[in-house]
């Protein structure tokens, strides 16, 4: 087994670890926003690391470039969808607590309307 395969397996193993962390976070966290936080941060890292690992494992130029593009699409669209869902649920006041100490996003939302 060459050094290249070992690096690829390390990347894939990291991806599996972060996927397991995602699942635990989705089950254990209490409300919408913390669950979105868990799925977003961790699933983005997991998908990108998995595509890196597969690209190193395959190690042909055009095939690796295509797999890296798939990872790039994940890197762009996944935080985007998370942002849209979190913002929509904040504006619809889903699972907002009654008493809060800091709330910067409501001030920000007034400027971003148009």
């Amino acid at each position: 087994m060459g050094i290249r395969l070992i690096i690829a397996y390390i990347f894939m193993g990291g991806a599996i670890f972060f996927a397991i962390v995602t699942t635990i976070g989705l089950i254990r966290f209490p409300d919408v926003y913390t669950r979105i936080h868990a799925s977003a941060v961790v699933l983005t890292i997991s998908a990108v690391m998995l595509s890196f690992g597969v690209a190193i494992y395959v190690w042909e130029f055009y095939l690796s470039i295509k797999i890296m593009f798939v990872g790039l699409i994940f890197l762009i669209t996944n935080p985007l969808a998370t942002h849209a869902i979190a913002r929509a649920s904040y504006r619809r006041k889903i699972a907002c607590p009654e008493v809060r100490s800091v709330d910067d996003y409501s001030k920000y939302l007034g400027r971003d309307r148009e």
């Binding site: 669209t77 942002h83 849209a84 913002r87 971003d112 309307r113 148009e114």
Partner: protein
Amino acid sequence: MSKAKHIFVVIVLSLLGITMVINLNKIPGNTDQINFIYSHITNNAVLETGSLNFVTAILYDYRAYDSLGESTIIFGAVSGIVLLLSRKTLPVSSHGLSFIVKRTFGMLTPFIFLFSLYIISHGHLSPGGGFQGGVILGAISIIFSIVYGSEFDFKRYSPTTKTLLETGGALLFIGLGLAGIIFGGYFLENLRFLNTEIGSLLSAGSIPLINTVIGFKIGAGLAIIFYSMIQKTFKEEDKL
């Protein structure tokens, strides 16, 4: 009353199930005729149609008349949905989502369009074809109305353009069939004027043409369905 209704529904469903089971047994199994068709298509489809994708060869060459029927079904569905839903009001925002989503989709939408064109134009070489690429084309209009607001969709890709694309696609499909009668012998015959080497982009006769026509027709039809659901809300928000 509702209990009698439940019992009636259960009786009707069980009768339907029994008749289906009885009639499914009468479908011929592994007979000589089916084996003949199977072996004929697997042996001769590439040479007869020039298409590497067997599914596309069957859909747009051997059974192209069925595809005409399917696209007519979608045409009827679009007409019915426009007739039924154009008076309902649904809450859809007219100024779209936030700045981040708008910028990112500004980068991503050209690639979605390119991908749909790739699936449509390579339908005779790889998996895909007119229907699949057309659905992705319809998704672009949905992205316009959700992310940028329905006013943007109305200005950039107006309902007149959608109607022109859909009816034009249907008319061109029937025109290709009539051209098959004129130049060949029967309806929707494969016109063999794009016959370069098998496996290249401009091959397989009229299959890429039918793919393109059906793709734009399906994309415009799905866009019309989505637009007819949010049409009224856009006009009401305009007054406020």
